[in-house]
Symmetry: C2
Subunit: 299 residues, 2 copies
């Protein structure tokens, strides 16, 4: 007979504004200084589904109308919340740039919590100056050769140690490594340098899961369009993708990729810029029936 348990719904509400991916946070959680994700109870009496429950309380609390939502992960580790054992089902939700901003909650840049994930202005200095040295020390401190080999392999895979590739979708794996070696404030390891801003409980881990999911999904689902207004320019689309992917893309190739995939169509209108005017385009929903993967297959 299962023992009953409280279930909470955590929301990672994502938007992109001013070319910056942002997440909705409750400023002042518990402890007061840390940002926390908005969370609400799942009430089996009133909510027919988990999705409906999430939409209900986000609308109630933040006054936001959510677009596409999807389940992220269910967290049930002991010690997540010191006060009480809860299970929390985390959701990822998208909101368009045009949605009204609310006073009771704040929008924080995603890379505020994960500065090492933003490669748009080149390789972040902290990767070579902080992360790699710390990871090297951790590998050297392995108790035996077998463990050292495992650590070496893991570090190559997650943080591109010794010239190996930096896989931009491994956001969670990277955060977990930094947590283990004491480079983030939430880590139980005392002292040391702490990267990025901390969040309450295990919320930064949840946001890492979300960012990884977004980056992965970008490639095979038309997900960016949930974050853009109905009509947009190619430059706007590219900036949004770059913001999420955390790296720059080659403009002519990006354009060809998106056009050849039939993902967009011209609206016929134009938008003034400080240079040549840009054609306005819109998403083509029929694209989803024409190709197996309807994402922006960067790389």
């Amino acid at each position: 007979m299962p023992i009953d348990i409280a279930v909470a719904l955590d929301a990672v509400v994502a938007a992109v504004s001013d070319d910056e991916p942002r997440v909705l946070v409750r400023p002042g959680g518990d402890p007061a200084s840390d940002d926390a994700l908005p969370a609400g109870p799942f009430d089996p009496e009133t909510d027919a589904t988990l999705d409906a429950g999430l939409r209900r309380w986000v609308t109630e609390q933040a006054g936001l109308e959510l677009g596409h939502i999807e389940q992220l992960y269910t967290f049930g580790d002991r010690g997540r919340d010191a006060r009480r054992r809860v299970l929390s089902v985390a959701y990822l939700a998208f909101v368009r740039e045009s949605e009204p901003r609310v006073a009771s909650v704040g929008w924080r840049a995603w890379y505020h919590y994960f500065p090492w994930e933003d490669w748009r202005d080149g390789r972040p200095a902290i990767v070579d100056e902080v992360i790699h040295p710390a990871v090297d020390a951790w590998i050297a401190a392995a108790p035996d050769a077998d463990e050292r080999r495992r650590r070496e392999r893991r570090a190559r895979r997650t943080v591109g140690l010794r010239g190996t590739v930096w896989n931009d979708t491994l956001v969670l794996e990277r955060y977990e490594l930094l947590w283990e070696i004491g480079l983030v404030a939430e880590s139980p390891i005392p002292g040391g340098v702490h990267l990025g801003e901390r969040m309450a409980f295990d919320h930064r881990r949840i946001v890492a899961t979300a960012l990884g999911r977004v980056r992965g999904a970008l490639r095979w689902r038309p997900l960016v369009f949930e974050l853009l207004p109905p009509d947009f320019t190619m430059a706007q689309l590219q900036k949004t993708v770059e913001a999420l992917a955390g790296r720059r893309l080659h403009t002519p190739n990006f354009r060809r990729l998106v056009e050849d995939a039939g993902l967009i169509e011209p609206t016929g209108a134009w938008r003034q810029t400080t240079g040549r005017p840009a054609a306005l385009v819109r998403f083509r929903p029929e694209a989803t029936t024409e190709r197996p993967d309807t994402g922006i297959a960067i790389r």
Copy 2:
């Protein structure tokens, strides 16, 4: 204040034997005739994590040692289980072919529940003879033009209507469409033809989620190797991938793909066949650090 609720852990335990992907089921659930997934309670007192809870009771009940496990999805819809409102966290687990088989539970072929997903011997007849006509009728029955367009688009995307592509990863979306139009026995729509074998509760939906996940993950993670013995031949690997993907692959290209990705290395040993002997190979774990995606990028 959240209301407490019972939490169950459902397991989709997958293995491939005799070139057939199989799933572990409890024969005789409730009602007695339907196969059910093995499920156990999550006990917050004894289990530190959800993963640990799952491993504990699978070992207890089925005597199986699970390899890699991963969380699939959390289901909380009202009406899933008529007896009581429960939340269930579904997991996907892999077991090697060599693992002992247990008497109390049975291994059923995946395609027993999803005959329309197996394209290894060509396009299944039921696609053109049953599914497409029924989907056509459902589109024609739309109340208005707008809804008809939506249905048309959805049908093209999920079941490849009117010559569009059949996307082999959309297993869940396909099952849900068949459910909605009454082509599976679990559907609330009365009468009609029913495809595949039914399962208890919403368990077929969970297995559909698992199959879709496996097919998707195949492309970017070295997941097949969890299902194979340590040493295997290229033909064995290809057969296993084909079994999961549900379609045939071009042997020379498959070999080149896997070899060029550095996924395998020769063991030096050979295996007798009824033709030319085959070289035995093993998975190369270092591959995970050399490329961003370490899957078998079929398609």
